[in-house]
Structures are given as structure tokens and as C-alpha cells.
Amino acid sequence: MAGLLEYSEGSTLLHRANPISKVAFAVAVCIATFLANEYLTLVLLLALVLLAGVYAGVGKKAVSLLLAFSSLGALMFLVQTVIVRAGTPVFLWVTDRGADTGAHVALRLVTFALPLVLMLTVTRLTDLTNAAVEVLHLPYRYAFTITTALRFVPIFSHEMSRIVEAQTARGVEFDSGNPLRKLGLMMPLAAPLLITSVSKADDTALAAEQRGFYLRTRESSYKRYPMATRDYAIFSLCLVVIVLGAIF
């Protein structure tokens, strides 16, 4: 999977909905996918997700993700056909039962993979963690830990480029095929970043403390994430989706 998801700007209903309801929607689709048996149900679920993506303006991204997952799905299909040999052979080693299982697995994989990723592209991660604190009563300190980890990802990405440059300039070879040599690469690359992260931890903790980390309560947040009509609508949709999945 590619790096951290980019938030795409927008003001559609989906963008403005409470982050929790968006995640709930993704979870509901996944539950339905798990329960569903028919091909049609799976395809409909997939179509629903893609539709939501197009509505939110991330249609192109949805399609590219779909293609990426499809290749993984194809691989799973092959693996399943190799393993499931029961039933009448259709083509080479593929039997009809094998193809059926394989197709289900592949479709399920894709439908599982898409919703959460798509929902996260229309949700700011900080909004998500703040909403989790307000709506789900997640203790603030854990939300803070998550946002700190996510915040440092681009910073460490930058650091990592610098580390790779510095070590390459020293003569560390990245292109050797020898496995033992490859392992030897690990220290010059991983050690500086991990040591830096441990060293930075204390300054960050001190800064947080000084700025009132321990004073914060659930009500402290300036930005609020109330549940609106659109969120209840989304929740109803979730229920419908799950029920449909269970039945079909």
C-alpha cells in the first residue's frame, strides 16, 4: 500500500459528514461483504462504494485503487483455484468449484479493501481522532498518540531521505544482491532514524506537557463534531447495507 492517504478537499455531504459516520459506513460495507454470499450482492456493494467515491469527487482515485486491488484479487483467485480441486475441470487445472471459490474471494478482497481507504481520503485524520474523542469517548491521550505518530510520518520521511543520502555518500551500497550484504544495510539506514525518533520523543513530550496536555478534557476541543441529520441518514444506510448483506 502506498503511503499515508492524502486528504482531498471538497464540500460534499460526504466531506461534511461526521468522521465517525464515514468510518461506520466503511465498516458496515465490510461486514456486509463478509456476510454476503451472492455475486450480485458483492457487486452491488462495490458499486455503492464506487458511487460514493465519485460523488465525493475522488472517482479517479477510487478507480485507480480498484485496479490496484484487482491485481491482488487476481492473484488470490489463482491461489484458490490451485488449492480447490474439487468439481469438474474447466481449464487446465482450474475446476468449476475452484473458479467459483476464487471468484468469490477475489471479489470479496476488492470490496473489503476499498471502502475504508476511500472514506479516509475524504476525512482529515486529525478530524477523525478529534471526533473519536468527542463521539466515541476515546481517551484524549491515545488520540494524541495517534496524531503524533501520523504527524511525524512526513517529518521522518524527510529525515530518511537525508539519511539515505548521507550514507550513500559514505559508500553504503544499495544495489548489491548479496543477502548478507543486504542485512548489513539495515544498521546504517534504520539505526539513525530510530535513534533520532527516541531522542526527539522527550522534547515532544515536554512541549506537550508545557502546553497543557494533562489539563485537557473531553470538552476542551475548540472544534466540535456534532451529529447531524446527514449522519443519521448514513447510519440508516449502514443498517440497510448490513441487512441486505446478511440476507443475500
Binding site: A113, F144, A149, E159, A166, G171, M186, P188, V198, R216
Partner: protein, 809 residues
């Protein structure tokens, strides 16, 4: 005399914000490692799963209770969740795994994980996580055939082994880095947490401070006066010794900072400047463990008797590590954070946010992500975030260490703006020229106590004492000191702090005294600069019409052409974005030129591998932490040689020689040393390879005066051995002292290439490149333009003084 000793410490680590942040950082690092190193290490699809390694390391370091161990697993799963697809699966895998890991670590008891425990525990944990993942994913989630799990077994086992190797190798170095964080092992913050129950009451009880939270009136603009008449900060016989340290970091320091003053603090590294800043901001004694004597009064409150947050309500603190001091991902949230936590009225928050942004001059950055900002902008955000809660005092610990001159000046301008509004500013800096220009008081620390204290004029007039302590003074002040020796002026009164003061002062002297006809004094070269040897043979480094572009349309480096011969020290200057860093990367082979050729001792960089180029070229980067990867200084320095294929015993022998030359302790762990010492270790790694070409990227940033000299002197020593040196540097004084040749760049092109003293006198050239000349060059140019030709081309303090003496004295 208040002899209160406050001792904190002794308990084991607790699971507080410091632990949570450590977990967060390790997870973020693991995430990035997966994306970068993971790919490089991948063998037939098997690679280490660094996020799992990260939480294993976190559990090994923190040794949490079982519930906290599970918590770490949950946090890790959430971070992974943001990138993988199947919701919930990661939790099911990593919770049992982290529980198992925590249990194993707990079983090792008091002594902690030793020997092969990291290897085995990580192996088992990763295998468990992987197996659960494989089984669930295939069978339960996808409802496929169970046998497919068997197909995944080799990958699971391979990953488990890879992770185990990673964790085993990294555990000990990380443990040293973790324990070495001088500050807290958790218990001190435990203290502040207990206090925080009292904080809410504390703030309400002190009626004064509560009023200042209600900001419908004009108090948004002015600083609320909680304790009118009290000095902003007062230290009474403060001494502090860090836990485990032998020497006192601060020794019986008594200082009073009046409200509204702008104080600069300087001193060599290890003098106690950061400790002083921590005492003022309350980090000592609340966060750092150690023995504290005396009293620190902030706004009338004794810092030992109130909570940390009470102190930070009054004193805002800005650290040197720009990224670590932030708490949010975007600018607006960063400024809101303190406002939300300190209980400001919701109606007042918006006004305060706008006020803070406006005062810091960053209104247009409101919705930006902090990671996309430049260093100078980030520091302004940090200042704005503190400003929003209207502190009375601002303490800044080397805020401009990593910034270029233009950004540094911008930060100081913002500080001046703050000071004008009544905020007391205490800033620790090595940039004496900026301090002398902006501060109204300068304090010099040496070995934990105050050596000098007074107005900039008074303090900098003691050039010799300052040099003995290990502190530089502004060049123009050295001029006035030199003239004071002859009795021409009285430095305490008329000492020069800026170039314009110097120019006016000298012109005033020249016009008031009859000018003698004196023989022309040939400008001497800097005492630091060695004579350039006559070019012998082929140039070491040769750039022929080199162009490079990062993207379409924008040339980063455009038709650059120059040679560097043995023994030369070429300084490349220009503002940020001029292409200097790109040029250095072209020179050491990190980048290959799009057009033209770069030739190093006969090697064409387009054809040679970077490792071949490394045999001839050594680069000293700005941040030594980007390359330090070994357990001891000796191993680190030897590593450079091992990479070049030098056999181990020879490598260690040569490394030992270089390490003793620099006076470093060969057995010390590099990351436990100070920043300046780490840079010296990096320098040792560069010098030990006897390169033909040495490239220096901001070699003196963040170093104190003596460390600068150490670095540049060894560069000179290398030059004497025939090395060609190319240096990118922002510090024009260093350039003026050491460079034999100057290349001025702008917009990717070389504007000029020549003798430094000549180029520094060309104002339009410097203007085009947006760089400020060294003080003495600017002064001599100004004097020459005013009609005194004798000053033209002078770059040395000594020469200005001599010419003045000749003309006037």
C-alpha cells in the same frame, strides 16, 4: 539564602505522556522504514515488518504492564490501519502479539531483557501476528480455502526472522539513547501529573490570573499584569545537578530579569544555557530529574511550588528542535492547542488566534500543514502558538541554529515585535552579531555560572575574556575594542554593535581628528587562511557546463562551470534555493548531471558508482545524526573505512589515531554526546578516509566558537595534505576567514567566481544573490565609498584598526 534541595527520582518508568510519545515516534519511524528500507532489504518478497519491530522495541524499552502492552498493540494497529485495507484485522493480529511480547518482557523480571531475549521474543511475536493475519485473512474474511494459509507460512516465518534480526541489532543502541535522555524517566512527570489536580484550583484561586483569561477587553493586545511590579523572572542562588551527572549544570546562579527586557544568553556548549532556559520555563524541576537548590521565581511564583502548567501560563518556551516542539499537524490546530487546554473562553479563542498569527506575521499560513513550511516559518508558528496565551516571558533556546541568515533575522524581528508589546524575551544564541543588535542585555555563562552580565557594549568590550571562555564577539565590536586599546575611544560608551554604528563612529573620528598621511597598508589575509598553493597538475574536481533539474522547466543548476585544485577552499554562497545543495550532491555523485559532466580525480560521476566516488570524495553533512549508526565512536569512524573496503584491523588502527587526534573518547556512544561533539565525530569519519575532495555542507551550523575552530582547523590540515575543499556556508564570517575562493550563486547559476575580498566589496553582486557581506567587508566598503580609499578591500579587524591608528592615532 534559600537552600531548598528538591530531589526527584528513583521510581521505575511510568506510562505517561513521554511513554506515549515514544511509542508514537517509534511507530512513525517504523512506518517510514517499511516504505523505504523495507524495499531495499526485500528478498524474494520477504522483508522486515518495521511497524511490528517498532512496537516490539517500544515494549522492550518501556517494559509496560500487560494492559499497557495491549494498548501499544492497539495504537500500532491503528497506525497500520490507516494504510491497509481490511478494517479491524490488524487489531486482531497485533493485540495478542503485543500481549505476548509484553508478557515475555515482564517475565525477564527486574533486570530487563538481556542476551537473545529481543531476538526470540520478536520472532515469536511476529510469527504469531503473521499467522493470525494469514489465517483470518484467508479463511475467515475472504472465506477461502484454509490450505492457502500454508502457502503463506514461508513468508510469515521469513518476516519473523527478519524482524528478530532487526530488533536484536537495534535494541542495545536504542536502549542507550533511551536511557541517556538526561531528563525524565517518567517519575518527574508523575509529579506534575499529581500537581495537575491542584492546577485547576491553583489557577482559579489566584484571582489575578483568572481575570486574564477573560478577554473581551483590550487585554488581547497588551500583556496581562498578574503581579504588577514583580520582576518577570528571578533566580535566587539556583544550582542544579542532573541525575547521574557529576558536575553541577548550574552553580549558584542569581539573576533578575526585569519586565520588558530583551536578554541574550551566550556561552560555550556545556555552559548551562539550556539548563538555565529549563529552569526559567519550569521544565526544571518538573520534567527533568535531579537536585535543585535555590529558588526560581516566575511572575512572583516559586516554580517548585506550582505546577508546570502554571509556569508555562506565564513563560512560553521555544526549543532548538523545531519539529519536536509542535503538537499538531497544521498551523491553526497548533495555535488552538494551548488555548483549548488552558481553559480560555470559547468566545475569546478566535480573537486570540488571529492576534497571534498577525503579530507573528503568518496570517496567510493559517490553514497550512506544518510539515510543508520552511524552518523560519515553523519557528514563527511556535512563537505564535505561545503568543496566543499571552505569556509574560518568552524563553528561546537557540531558535535560529538551523536557519539561514535571512530567516534568523526574521525570527529576531518577530521577537523585537513581541518585546515592544511588553513581553520579556530571553534568547539563547550563538549568533553574537544578532544578539548585539537586538538585545539590551547580554549574559555570558561559563561552566554553570554567570561570567559576564551587562549591556552588549559592556560585555563585548571584553574580547579577550570572551575568547578565553570560548565565545565570539561581533567583528565591529572587536574593532572598537582594538581602537580602545590605543585610547581613541571608550568601548563601554561608544563601542560598535552594528556595521552602521561602526561606520558612523569611524567617520566621526576621521572627520574630527586631523588625518595624517600614512603609508598604504596592504590588506592582510586572515590568520586562519593558509596560502593557496600554486596549482599543480590537474584539478581535483572539475565541473563542465553542468545542468540539473528536479522537474520540468525549473533548472536547479544551470550551466555551471568551474574547477577546484588541490589545497583550495572554495566557498559557495547564495540564498536558499540558489542551487548550492544541489551542486554539492552533483559533486559527490548523489545526483548525476542532466547535462555536462562532473569529473572527480579522473572519475566521471555519470559512469562511476557512488561507492567508487566515495573513495575520493567525503562529505560532511549539516546534521551528523543522519549518519551516526554505530555503538561507539571508534566503530563509527572505522565504519567509513570499512565501507571503502579497508580491512578491519587497518580501519580500526587509523580510526583510533583520528579519534585521539580530536580528543574524543573512543568508547563513548556517539548519540550520547552533545550536538557539537557529534559533529566532530562526523568530521572524524570524513577525515579518516583521506579524501582527495572534501565537501562541507554548513559545517559550522549549531556549533559554538571553539567547535567551529576545531572543524575549520582540521579542514585546513586536510588542505595542507593536498585535499580540495568545497564548502557551502551561510556564515559569511567563516567564509571570509577561511575561503581561498568564492563562488556566488543565484537561481542555479554561478554569478561570479573569484577572490573573496574582491567579491565581498561588490554590493550589486551581493544584492543580486541576496546575501549579506561579512561585517568587516561591509564596513571597509562603506568607508572607502565615503572617500577613504585606504580601507578598500580590507577584510580583517586588525587591518581596520591599523589603518585607523595610522590615520588618526
Amino acid at each position: 539564602m534559600n537552600q531548598k534541595a528538591v530531589r526527584r527520582g528513583g521510581e521505575g518508568p511510568r506510562f505517561d505522556v513521554a511513554s506515549l510519545v515514544l511509542v508514537a515516534m517509534l511507530l512513525a519511524a517504523g512506518f517510514i522504514l517499511n516504505m523505504t528500507v523495507g524495499k531495499a532489504l526485500s528478498m524474494t518478497g520477504i522483508q522486515p515488518e518495521f511497524v511490528i519491530s517498532s512496537y516490539c522495541l517500544a515494549i522492550l524499552l518501556l517494559r509496560p504492564t500487560l494492559p499497557h502492552g495491549v494498548l501499544i498493540g492497539v495504537l500500532a494497529a491503528t497506525v497500520i490501519q490507516f494504510t491497509t485495507s481490511i478494517p479491524g484485522l490488524e487489531y486482531v493480529c497485533d493485540i495478542p502479539a503485543s500481549l505476548l511480547m509484553a508478557a515475555i518482557v515482564r517475565l525477564t523480571g527486574e533486570r530487563g531483557p538481556r542476551g537473545l531475549v529481543p531476538f526470540l521474543s520478536t520472532c515469536v511475536t511476529t510469527a504469531v501476528s503473521g499467522l493470525i493475519f494469514a489465517t483470518l485473512a484467508t479463511v475467515v474474511v475472504l472465506r477461502g480455502e484454509p490450505l492457502a494459509v500454508v502457502a503463506m507460512l514461508p513468508i510469515v516465518i521469513g518476516t519473523a526472522l527478519a524482524n528478530a534480526i532487526v530488533v536484536q541489532s537495534l535494541y542495545l543502541p536504542l536502549r542507550s539513547a533511551f536511557l541517556q535522555r538526561l531528563p525524565s524517566t517518567g517519575e518527574a512527570s508523575g509529579t506534575s501529573r499529581d500537581d495537575s489536580d491542584g492546577v485547576v484550583q491553583g489557577v482559579r484561586a489566584e484571582g489575578g490570573s483568572n481575570e486574564s483569561l477573560d478577554v473581551s477587553t483590550a487585554t488581547t493586545e497588551a500583556v496581562p499584569d498578574v503581579y504588577p511590579g514583580a520582576a518577570a523572572v528571578e533566580l535566587q542562588h539556583v544550582s542544579f545537578t542532573y541525575d547521574g551527572a557529576r558536575r553541577r549544570a548550574l552553580d549558584d546562579v542569581s539573576l533578575t530579569f526585569g519586565a520588558g527586557s530583551f536578554v541574550g544568553v551566550i556561552g560555550p556548549s556545556g555552559a548551562g544555557k539550556t539548563t538555565l532556559a529549563s529552569v526559567v520555563s519550569g521544565a526544571i524541576p518538573h520534567h527533568f530529574a535531579g537536585e535543585f537548590r535555590g529558588a526560581a521565581l516566575v511572575g512572583g511564583m516559586d516554580t517548585c511550588e506550582v505546577a508546570l502548567t502554571d509556569v508555562s501560563r506565564v513563560v512560553g518556551s521555544v526549543l532548538q528542535d523545531i519539529d519536536a516542539q509542535m503538537v499538531a499537524a497544521d498551523v491553526e490546530d497548533e495555535i488552538l492547542y494551548g488555548l483549548e487546554n488552558f481553559g480560555f473562553e470559547r468566545s475569546a479563542i478566535e480573537k486570540r488566534v488571529s492576534y497571534a498569527l498577525r503579530t507573528a506575521g503568518i496570517e496567510d499560513l493559517r490553514r497550512r500543514e506544518i510539515s510543508t513550511l520552511s524552518g523560519g516559518q515553523k519557528q514563527k508558528v511556535a512563537i505564535a502558538a505561545i503568543l496566543a496565551i499571552s505569556p509574560r516571558v518568552m524563553v528561546l533556546d537557540e531558535p535560529t541554529a538551523a536557519l539561514d541568515p535571512a530567516s534568523s533575522r526574521m525570527v529576531f524581528e518577530t521577537l523585537r515585535e513581541l518585546n515592544a508589546r511588553g513581553i520579556t524575551v530571553i534568547v539563547i544564541e550563538q549568533k553574537v552579531a544578532l544578539l548585539s543588535e537586538y538585545c539590551d542585555r547580554v549574559i555570558v555563562l561559563s561552566q554553570g555560572s554567570v561570567a559576564l552580565d551587562g549591556s552588549p557594549r559592556e560585555v563585548f568590550s571584553h574580547s579577550k575574556d570572551l575568547r578565553d571562555i570560548g565565545v565570539d564577539s561581533p567583528r565591529v565590536t572587536r574593532i572598537s575594542n582594538g581602537l580602545a586599546v590605543t585610547g581613541v575611544l571608550d568601548p563601554a560608551e561608544k563601542g560598535f554593535l552594528t556595521v552602521s554604528q561602526a561606520r558612523d563612529g569611524l567617520l566621526g573620528l576621521l572627520s574630527s581628528t586631523p588625518v595624517k598621511a600614512a603609508s598604504h597598508v596592504a590588506p592582510s589575509a586572515s590568520p586562519h587562511r593558509l596560502a593557496t598553493p600554486a596549482p599543480a597538475g590537474d584539478p581535483m574536481l572539475s565541473l563542465r557546463d553542468v545542468s540539473f533539474s528536479y522537474g520540468v522547466g525549473k533548472a536547479s543548476v544551470d550551466h555551471v562551470c568551474f574547477d577546484v585544485g588541490a589545497g583550495e577552499l572554495v566557498a559557495v554562497v547564495g540564498q536558499n534555493g540558489a542551487g548550492k545543495t544541489t551542486l554539492t550532491k552533483l559533486m559527490n555523485g548523489l545526483l548525476k548531471p542532466g547535462d555536462g559532466s562532473v569529473n572527480i580525480c579522473g572519475l566521471d560521476t555519470r559512469r562511476a558508482r557512488t561507492s567508487e566516488i566515495a573513495q575520493k570524495v567525503s562529505t560532511l553533512f549539516q546534521n551528523p545524526d543522519h549518519q551516526i549508526c554505530r555503538q561507539t565512536v571508534l566503530e563509527e569512524v572505522a565504519f567509513s573505512l570499512q565501507l571503502l573496503g579497508v580491512p578491519d584491523d587497518e580501519a580500526f588502527q587509523r580510526a583510533a589515531d583520528v579519534v585521539s587526534y580530536f580528543g574524543l573518547d573512543p568508547e563513548a556512544a556517539p548519540f550520547t554526546l552533545s550536538r557539537g561533539q557529534r559533529q566532530i565525530v562526523a568530521l572524524a569519519s570524513v577525515v579518516v578516509t583521506n579524501p582527495k575532495v572534501m565537501i562541507l555542507d554548513e559545517p559550522t551550523s549549531g556549533l559554538d566558537y571553539r567547535e567551529c575552530m576545531t572543524v575549520m582547523d582540521s579542514v585546513n590540515a586536510a588542505r595542507e595534505r593536498g585535499c580540495a575543499v568545497v564548502m557551502v556556508c551561510h556564515d559569511m564570517e567563516v567564509v571570509s576567514d577561511y575561503a581561498t575562493r568564492l563562488i556566488v550563486m543565484a537561481n542555479g547559476r554561478v554569478l561570479e567566481d573569484g577572490e573573496p575580498s574582491v567579491l565581498f566589496s561588490r554590493a550589486e553582486l551581493l544584492g543580486k544573490a541576496c546575501i549579506a557581506p561579512p561585517q568587516v567587508s561591509e564596513l571597509s566598503q562603506g568607508l572607502a565609498d565615503a572617500g577613504f580609499e585606504r580601507f578598500r578591500g580590507i577584510t580583517e579587524v586588525k587591518d581596520i584598526v591599523d589603518v585607523m591608528k595610522g590615520l588618526v592615532g
